[in-house]
């Protein structure tokens, strides 16, 4: 993605940011994204984000892992090479429970985390796209695309909510 002009507001606390986000949204101005040092409770709802679909991905990986594990064991011990162990049934379902469980957990965890990293664009060595590097320490940022916002109005609004600084910059986010 190429760079674009954004109005960047910085705060030193999460509550003013949250209030500001609500008001900017109420005024009908679209917000690009917010950047915070830790998960701020209620910020995703205030920004109008839909609930993450990762749980659904996790469930599907779980079903996949469960089926693969059960199929693998049943095929290996029941069909491909059945063993006669004291005349007991080759398809000993209760014995398959532990490995089925472990593989379900393994594939769900790896699949979901993989999905999370790829969907968020977090891969080894990727460049961090953020307006201010202090956002990973103690600064809370809001980024509003300039083309759909009135700079003076937004500036006044953010300052009223206690922003430390508001500026317009051309960056890649």
């Amino acid at each position: 993605m190429s760079s674009q002009k954004y109005i960047i507001g910085t705060f030193n606390d999460e509550e003013p940011l949250l209030e500001a986000v609500k008001e900017v949204r109420a005024a009908g101005t679209p917000i690009h994204e917010c950047y915070t040092p830790f998960p701020v409770h209620g910020l995703d709802e205030a920004l109008g984000y839909r609930r993450s679909r990762l749980p659904r991905a996790a469930f599907m990986f779980g079903v996949l892992g469960f089926s693969l594990a059960l199929f693998m064991q049943a095929w290996m011990l029941g069909y491909d090479w059945p063993m006669n162990i004291g005349g007991k049934p080759a398809l000993a379902w209760p014995d398959f429970v532990p490995v089925t469980f472990e593989l379900t957990v393994l594939i769900t965890a790896l699949g979901m985390v993989g999905t999370y990293l790829v969907a968020s664009g977090f891969l080894p060595g990727n460049e961090a796209k953020m307006p201010d590097i202090r956002c990973t320490s103690h600064v809370f940022c809001i980024a509003i695309p300039s083309n759909t916002a009135d700079y003076d109005k937004i500036h006044a609004l953010l300052m009223r909510h206690g922003a430390d600084e508001v500026e317009e910059r051309e960056i890649e986010l």
Binding site: W81, I85, L123, E127, R134
Partner: protein, 470 residues
């Protein structure tokens, strides 16, 4: 979120967000202290001993161990179970306590989980070497081969164990790393030059956006939900290695819950041993407070009591079963040639944790440190007692035997401690030992300063409701 002012603080002293970043990141950025070097060199010496004994073992063969035809599981399996058990506290703290919304976990989960990963690595070396030919260890996995294919036997608890331990290791590692990413980004954004490059590579381009945090929380919650049954399953399956056999003293249905409780018990003891040293050496007393130590001691008390009652139940059931072999196995444990191991276990595991009924002792660092060491020792003896005393006198008195370790086994055990501590020292130097972002998220509820403010706002005298703060 509202938090009552009667709650004990989880962060003491000044707590601005910038301050928290500074406090924790400085440990990664500054030159290591003298104590770090001393500890690291001692650990490296241990690691050297481990490499030496393992090399000798591989060159000569498992005959260098003191095992014999009757006692064919000795220190190797004892150490394996001991290390796996220790590895249980980390995931319990980061997963089960996350589901229970226990805020105190934020300060200890990172190091506890690192400890889990290192303990599982140490544990893994034992079955690997016990198998005799580690270079063909991939035979345990169901891989296509030229013998048929002759597949792995999924009816065997030993194979379940392979899957349980490797899944546990992988999921713990992934869980730990997912939590580390935001903190690595924090370090990245403070660093310069080569360090910035390295931490930047490791931080995966984390940017702290609201969407990323939303996904992060979703992933953490699901990983916690997965890791909770996983952590319970691991020691359950380890116990099945014993419980599904027909050895008197092993063949009991109480084993899975009893092993899990014992694992959590020993894991928390090891967490305390490590954290008490770490908070002092790295000056993290404001984050790992006496309140944290207090709650962990309560968990030790609960799990220790479960373990204690399991010992007594086991003994009672052995008598009640009226099976002569079963009865003999237990009488032999307590009064046979290995009586000293049994009573060392009973003293360390049943009596010492009961001292934690006293709040004074729970909050006395020296006492906690000593008791945690006792629990570590006691839990090692538990595994030794279960394994060796059950095996050494089997069904046929002519094959009864005694077992004692050789220097190779002792060297490997001491050496695995070296391996463990080497990894832990490296972790403490190069990675943030406290989850920076997670601690910040509880500042507005659980920091000392905040609790004072809430009390003021409500017109409550803080001295009266929360004497600890005043």
């Amino acid at each position: 979120m509202y938090e009552s002012p009667i709650r004990r603080p989880l962060i003491t002293g000044k707590t601005s967000y910038a301050q928290i970043t500074d406090d924790i990141a400085t440990a990664v950025e500054a030159k290591p202290t003298k104590w770090w070097y001393i500890g690291f060199i001692v650990s490296l010496a241990g690691l050297g001993l481990w490499l030496l004994t393992v090399t000798y073992l591989l060159v000569t063969g498992v005959g260098v161990w003191g095992l014999n035809k009757t006692v064919d599981w000795g220190w190797d399996i004892t150490n394996f179970v001991w290390w796996v058990g220790i590895g249980h506290a980390g995931t319990l703290i980061s997963a089960i306590l996350l589901l229970f919304r226990q805020k105190w976990r934020t300060a200890v989960n990172r190091s506890a989980e690192a400890m889990t990963i290192f303990a599982v690595i140490c544990a893994g070396t034992y079955p690997l070497l016990h198998a005799g030919r580690p270079w063909v260890i991939y035979w345990v996995f169901p891989l296509p081969n030229t013998y048929g294919s002759l597949w792995a036997n999924f009816n065997s608890p030993l194979l379940w164990d392979v899957f349980a331990i490797s899944t546990y290791f992988t999921v713990s590692l992934v869980f730990w790393y997912v939590g580390l990413i935001p903190d690595l980004a924090t370090i990245r954004d403070r660093a310069e030059g080569v360090r910035k490059k390295i931490y930047g590579l490791l931080a995966f381009g984390w940017n702290g956006s609201a969407k990323a945090w939303q996904r992060f929380e979703s992933v953490s919650l699901i990983l916690a939900g997965l890791a909770t049954p996983l952590v319970l399953s691991v020691h359950t399956i380890v116990s099945m290695d014993f419980a599904t056999s027909v050895i008197p003293g092993w063949h009991t249905t109480i084993f899975p819950p009893y092993f899990v409780a014992g694992a959590v018990f020993s894991g928390f003891a090891m967490v305390l041993t490590l954290l008490i040293i770490m908070r002092k050496v790295m000056r993290l007393e404001a984050y790992i407070t006496l309140n944290h130590i207090d709650v962990m001691n309560k968990i030790i008390l609960v799990t220790g009591s479960i373990v204690g009652s399991a010992y007594i139940t086991e003994f009672f059931i052995a008598w009640y079963s009226a099976v002569p072999f079963e009865r003999y196995a237990f009488v032999n444990r307590a009064f046979g040639p290995y009586w000293w191991a049994y009573w060392a276990m009973m003293t360390c595991n049943v009596i010492t944790p009961q001292l934690f009924w006293s709040q004074k002792l729970r909050r006395n660092i020296t006492a906690v440190f000593i008791i945690s060491i006792f629990v570590n020792i006691g839990m090692w003896f538990e595994r030794f007692v279960i394994i060796v005393t059950s095996l050494h006198r089997d069904y046929l008195p002519s094959s009864w035997a005694m077992y004692s370790p050789t220097w190779v086994e002792i060297g490997m055990f001491v050496g695995s401690l070296g391996l463990f501590f080497t990894l832990f020292f490296l972790f403490a130097k190069f990675l943030p030992v406290i989850a920076i972002a997670e601690v910040k998220s509880i500042v507005k509820t659980s920091a000392e300063e905040h609790i004072k403010k809430t009390a003021e706002k409500e017109g409550i005298d803080i001295k009266e409701v929360n004497p600890q703060i005043a």
